[in-house]
Symmetry: C2
């Protein structure tokens, strides 16, 4: 029983310390902010750019269009040659070739000549206007202009959409699908903020891997699939090679993985979570352990050789809450994303009073019944079922005792 | 020049027909809705479930927790044995083993015996309560109870979180990260709506593939990277094997790819888009060609051997608009997603009047200046640059002539 005793002793020591000086939520958020900044740039393929954050201004290295082009189907001519043309004064021109998009007419056009041209095709040298196909009569290799065109008519000029040297997208922009299109047009290779690599460390000898079917006293790791989906939402790359043995060496090795952030989540029991805080304290800095909030009061955070480590409670609700409050914020800052909650919010009145305790922040899961907020009573028993039953949550600040019925509150919705 | 003549002739025929009977936007939307329904279910790995739509109610096949368990660290006892215990009447119990999460005590506990137990560990047979560690004095293999506990105290019962047979998630639910966690807990393999496979067919002999750097009269395909990002946003799988030669056989082969939706986008010129409508009309049904809207009036749609085909204009703005109005809707319906615009909207006043024409729908790109809407003047010249300059768009319905300055309108924002 020595193993069990050691664990409990360790657990107590660390926890007592945490509980004596519980960090407030604003202090913990300030710690996250002080330790995180957006990651270094990387160049990625066009197909991976949407949603990423630009780390540089993008200046077009070329003119778009890159050449003078026809804006109508017709005949490229020298405008002067059409001077005075009308239905009653048809002027003949010799058609000496054609210009197609991607297949320009390569010779120079002389007075009295014309080149058949399609919309988007390059204007041949020597021409300065397009006679629309409706304004000519075609007779084999000859056409008769029935209207005059002025110089520049139906011509799109080089650089008139995007001039070489123009800043088309600014640093910090979250790239939209159409931005990716424009970047493709100018042949740009751009730098974006690197995605943080986030290692999920789930410990617990009693746990089965996700995908297994539990029997008897077995429990399946449910936190790692949940965390992986949230990491992806927040711009990170989830790395989750499997459950880590409940052993200090194995856990330390996992904590030292080549990543930007480590999320440690214990199994279902309190004891399972004890090695990680010890290891972070010993080999790095356990900055915060124990936070004045509910749930997630056992959460902690620290640094291990430059990696941010978040200690998330094993309880799924507390894990979700601690992730959303602290780890999501860190991952989003590293990714260059906004630190706003990644949830849509609406304002609704409370159906009944919602109590809290001064001195702690409450992350209260709620259901929406009609247009009203119904707090979900959380007993220890409904931990898992409450995560799917809730429509969202409200945050009750530390200085509030809660709210009477009919108070209008902001609800953050879990639905997309 | 026969090739060019043929193309123009074909173009005219198809186009004139489309333009004579221009379909209204509501008619085109109704056609999309009549031809699309969510795709068949498929079973996917847990790691791919977030954001997908359930096609079945999920009924838990087991109890969670799957066994009676301790809710505190302490000693599992028969409550009766603690009857009358207090600081002044300490009752001795023999510790015969321990129960850990994932490592249950396997024997039966008899009167006068206790088992050391950790939170989350299975309650041994013969015990019905947990004496918290604070309420006992430990003396090697013996403990002294200093308090009485009632039956069931600090015990979590099998099935009290989720009872076997409970419906935990309903058909149609878009799965959240925590839903994936709960599904892992119960070892469920669930069916979700299959993702539509969407083939991007970009034609145009003049086009360079995305990633290339254009020189001279070359143009890079900018529509396919934009479309790929939007398809992914709308729940589809983009299939984009590269630019298709401007040749009817090659285009027909691409139109017959094993997919659910085909998006055809031409090059920069009108002529480039002509084979696809012809081929859809010949081998399938060209239901709509020419729509009363701006931009995107040349857009079309039809069916080819059960595949939905959308003809998107080559002009990037018109391509974006036609995709968002029609193709996005189809892909979202196939994916089981809402047909709402996938953009956040806000209401703002117009800075100056915004004119439209009765009889057509306008998709007007706008900038936000302060809190006001500034319409972007679209000339043919600013096609590409306007896609990145716009903050969003407003939709002007077909029966409106536009709006005077200061009218409050709904703006759909391109930003996430």
């Amino acid at each position: 029983m020595s193993d069990l005793n050691l664990r409990n002793a360790t657990s107590k020591d660390v926890r007592m310390k945490g509980f004596r000086n519980r960090t407030t939520v604003p202090e913990a958020l300030a710690w996250v902010d002080s330790k995180t900044t957006s990651l270094a740039p990387e160049v990625v393929d066009l197909s991976q750019l949407a949603g990423r954050i630009l780390t540089e201004d993008v200046v077009s290295p070329l003119d778009i269009p890159g050449f003078d082009r026809a804006m109508m189907d017709g005949f490229a001519v020298l405008a002067e040659d059409s001077l005075g043309a009308s239905m009653y004064n048809r002027l003949p021109l010799q058609v000496i070739g054609q210009s197609l998009p991607g297949n320009a007419f390569s010779n120079t056009v002389k007075r009295g000549e014309a080149v058949k041209i399609m919309t988007g095709a390059p204007m041949p040298r020597g021409t300065d206007a397009v006679l629309p196909v409706e304004k000519v009569e075609v007779d084999n290799e000859q056409i008769f202009a029935q209207d005059a065109v002025s110089p520049g008519k139906h011509v799109g000029y080089r650089g008139e959409d995007i001039a070489c040297g123009t800043t088309i997208l600014s640093k910090g922009r979250q790239l939209r699908p159409q931005d990716v299109g424009v970047l493709a047009s100018i042949g740009a290779r751009v730098s974006v903020i690197r995605k943080p690599r986030v290692r999920i460390v789930v410990t617990g000898n009693e746990l089965l891997p996700p995908g297994a079917v539990p029997t008897g006293s077995q429990i399946v790791d449910s936190n790692s699939p949940m965390l992986a989906a949230m990491i992806q939402r927040d711009g990170g790359l989830a790395i989750n090679p499997g459950i880590v043995a409940d052993d200090p060496d194995a856990i330390l090795e996992a904590l030292r993985d080549e990543v930007d952030v480590v999320l440690v989540s214990g199994g279902s029991s309190v004891g399972q979570e004890d090695y990680a805080p010890m290891l972070v304290a010993k080999h790095g800095e356990l900055a915060i352990h124990g936070i004045a909030m509910r749930p997630s009061s056992p959460a902690g955070m620290g640094l291990l050789e430059k990696r941010l480590v978040f200690l998330l409670p094993g309880n799924p609700v507390a894990c979700l809450c601690a992730y959303d409050f602290f780890a999501a914020r860190a991952i989003r800052i590293l990714s260059g994303l906004s630190t706003d909650w990644p949830y849509r919010s609406i304002r609704c009145p409370l159906r009944r009073k919602l109590v809290s305790k001064v001195g702690r922040v409450d992350y209260a899961r709620v259901e929406l019944i009609g247009e009203q907020i119904e707090p979900i009573a959380i007993s220890g028993a409904s931990v898992l079922s409450s995560t799917t039953r809730a429509d969202g949550f409200v945050v009750i600040p530390g200085d509030s005792e809660g709210y009477p019925a009919e108070t209008e509150l902001e609800v953050y919705l879990y639905e997309r």
